[in-house]
Symmetry: C2
Subunit: 180 residues, 2 copies
Amino acid sequence: MKRIAFTLVAVGALGGAGALMVPASGQGDREAAPIYGITIPVGYRDWRLISVNHLAGGTLKQVRAQLGNDIAIEAFRTGKLPFPDGTIIAALHWNEASSDESNKVLASGFPSAGLQSFVAGSAVNVQFMVKDGKKYAATGGWGFADFTSGKPGDETLHKTCYACHLPAKDRDFVFARYAP
Amino acid sequence: MKRIAFTLVAVGALGGAGALMVPASGQGDREAAPIYGITIPVGYRDWRLISVNHLAGGTLKQVRAQLGNDIAIEAFRTGKLPFPDGTIIAALHWNEASSDESNKVLASGFPSAGLQSFVAGSAVNVQFMVKDGKKYAATGGWGFADFTSGKPGDETLHKTCYACHLPAKDRDFVFARYAP
C-alpha cells in the first residue's frame, strides 16, 4: 500500500513538471483561437502518441505527430466512434531536418542502400481538435485551433478547418488512425 | 487538497489501464533479446514522445517515433548527458502508408500544391536502449534490443547495435533529439 501511494505521488509530480514546460504558464496568459475559443491545453506535450506521419512531394516538408489526451487514447484503442465529449487531439508539425549522425550510419549502406533519415527540426505549428457535441454542433461536434509559436492563427485560417476535415467524416472527421 | 488527491488517483488508474494493453501480459511470457537480456518493457506504448522521423531514398520507407520513460524524458528536457541509469528509449518503426482521406484534402492544393501525406502503416519493429552503466559498460553503458511482432531478433542482429550508434557518441550514443 505504501508503494502504491508512492507511485501515485511520483506520477503526479512528474505530470506537474511536464506542465511547467508549456511555454504559456498561466491560463490568463494564453490567447484563445478565434471562432472556437480554444486555448493551448496545459501539458499536451505529455500526452500519449496516436500516430506519426510526414508530408512530401511539395514545398512543405514536415514530420508530424498526433498526441491524445486520456479520453482520446482510450477511444482510439477501443475503436470508439464518434469520439466522446472531452476528447482532445493535438497535431504537432515540425519542419523536417536532416540528421548528420543518422546519415553517417545510413551512408554505410546499413540496413539498406540509399537511405536518408529526416528528423523533426523547428516547430511549425500545433493544432488541436476538441470534442464538445453541444458547443460545436455546427462543425461535427469539433472545435479547432491552430497555434504558431503559442499564438493562434486568424479567423480566415480557422474557417478552413472543418471543411478540410470533411473527407474523414466516416471516422468522425479525424484523419489520424492509431499506430500499433 | 481533495482535488489534488483525486487527480493522483486518476492518473494512477489510467496508467494501470494502459499497462494492461501491452500484448505480452506477463513477465514470464516475454522473451529476452540476446546479448543484453532485455525484454519488452511493460507499458512502453504509453510513454511520452521524444521525437519522430522518417526514412526515405531507399527501399525502406518508414515513419518512426521515439518514446521515453520518465527518466529519459526528464534527461532530454533538461539536456542531461550522459543519460542516467534507468533511462529507456523506445524506437517504434512502421512501414509508411498513404492516407486516402488526407490525400483527398491535399489534392485540392491546400495548404500548398503537390503534397502527399504518408502515415504509419503496419509495424516493422520496436527497438529499446536501456541505460545501465555497470551492466553494459562494454557498450557505452547501453543495452540494446530489437523486437519484431514481439519476438527478439537474433544475436547477429544485436551485434550490430552498438557499432551503429557510435556516430552519436557525443550525445551518449543517442540519435534522437527532443522535438519542441
